[in-house]
Symmetry: C2
DNA sequence: TGCGGATGTATATGTGCATATGTAATTCGG
DNA sequence: CCGAATTACATATGCACATATACATCCGCA
C-alpha cells in the first residue's frame, strides 16, 4: 500500500505549507504585501540586513530569487535601493515609509491567521509543534549540508 | 520585537517545506521524477483517479497547475493521454510502463529521506508530528472554506 | 429538440522558488 | 601594482503553485 508516501511528514508539511501560504497571501494582499516579503521587511526594519546578499541569507533563499523579489518590491514601492558608497557592487536597501507604515498591520494579520488556524490547539500543543518543526528544520539543514559536501559522506548506511 | 512572526508555525512550516522539497527533488531527479509528481503517480497506479480533474482533487492543487504538470509529464514520457470515449472534453490518463517501473524506487527514496530527516525523533515524536500536522491541515481547510463562503462569516471576533 | 447552465480543459499571467551562468567590482597574492 | 580569485549582482530557464478567463462539451429541462 503506497498511500504511505502521502502520509509522510514530508508530504504533510508540503500540504500544510501551501494551505498556510494561501491563507496568508489572501490576508496580506489587501495590504500590498506577499508572504515571501515578510522576512525581508522584518530584516530591513530591524536593521538585520541591508544588502541583497544578507537579505537572502536571512530569508534563507538563494540570491537570484531574492533579486527578483527585491525587483518586484522596488517596483511596488516597498523598498528603495541606493548605491553603496563603500562597494560599487552593492546597493543599500531601505524600506519606504509606506511599507514601514503598513508592516505592523501585516504582522498582525499573520499572527491572527496563526491564532485562527491553531484555535483548537492547546498552548502546549502549539509549543510542541513549533519545537518539533524547529528540530526538523535543523535536521533538514544537516542532511542538506552532508548532501552538498562532496567528501565526508559520513555514515550513509546508518539508518 | 517582531521576530515573532518568523517563529510562527506558519513560517516554520514554510521553511520546513522548502527544505524537504529541495531534498526530495534532489533524490527524485535521477529517477526522472519531481516531488509534485508523486500524488499523480500514486493516484494513477492505484486507480484512484484517471482524469485531470480527479487528479487535481487528489493532489489538492488547482486544475491549471495540474494541466501544466501533466503536460510536462507527458512530454517526459511518464504518462499518456487517450481521448475519453464517453466524454469529449476529458482524457483518460495512464502511467507509462517506464514510469510505473521506476515508481517503487521513487517511493523508497522519499521514505528514506523522511527516515533520515527524522533520525533524531523517537517514534512517538514522529507520530505526534504527523498527528499535529494532520490536525493543522484540517484546520487550514476549515478556515479556508469559511474564508471562501461569502455568507456565514460565523464568529470572526471570537479569537 | 434546442438552449442555457454546469463541467472539463486550455491558456495567460504573476509569484515564489530553484539551478546555471554571465558580468562587474573588489580584494588579494606575488 | 597587476592579474587572478572572490564576491555581489543580473539574467535565463524551468518547475510548482495561484487566479482569471476563454472555450468546448455535456446534460437537464422547457
Amino acid at each position: 500500500m503506497d498511500l504511505d508516501v502521502l502520509m509522510t511528514p514530508g508530504h504533510l508539511i508540503s500540504l500544510a505549507a501551501r494551505g498556510f501560504a494561501r491563507l496568508s497571501e489572501a490576508r496580506l494582499k489587501p495590504l500590498g504585501f506577499g508572504v515571501g516579503h515578510l522576512p525581508v521587511l522584518v530584516a530591513l526594519r530591524d536593521g538585520r540586513a541591508s544588502t541583497q546578499r544578507d537579505l537572502a541569507r536571512f530569508a534563507k533563499i538563494e540570491q537570484p530569487p531574492m533579486a527578483q523579489m527585491l525587483a518586484r518590491m522596488e517596483r511596488d514601492g516597498l523598498i528603495e535601493r541606493a548605491p553603496d558608497p563603500a562597494d560599487g557592487r552593492s546597493s543599500r536597501i531601505t524600506l519606504t515609509a509606506a511599507a514601514e507604515a503598513r508592516l505592523p498591520d501585516a504582522v498582525s494579520e499573520l499572527l491572527r491567521g496563526n491564532r485562527e488556524v491553531l484555535r483548537d490547539f492547546t498552548a502546549g500543543e502549539a509549543g510542541l509543534l513549533v519545537s518539533l518543526l524547529t528540530r526538523l528544520i535543523a535536521s533538514l539543514d544537516r542532511v542538506a549540508s552532508v548532501e552538498a559536501s562532496p567528501a565526508a559522506r559520513i555514515s550513509e548506511s546508518g539508518d
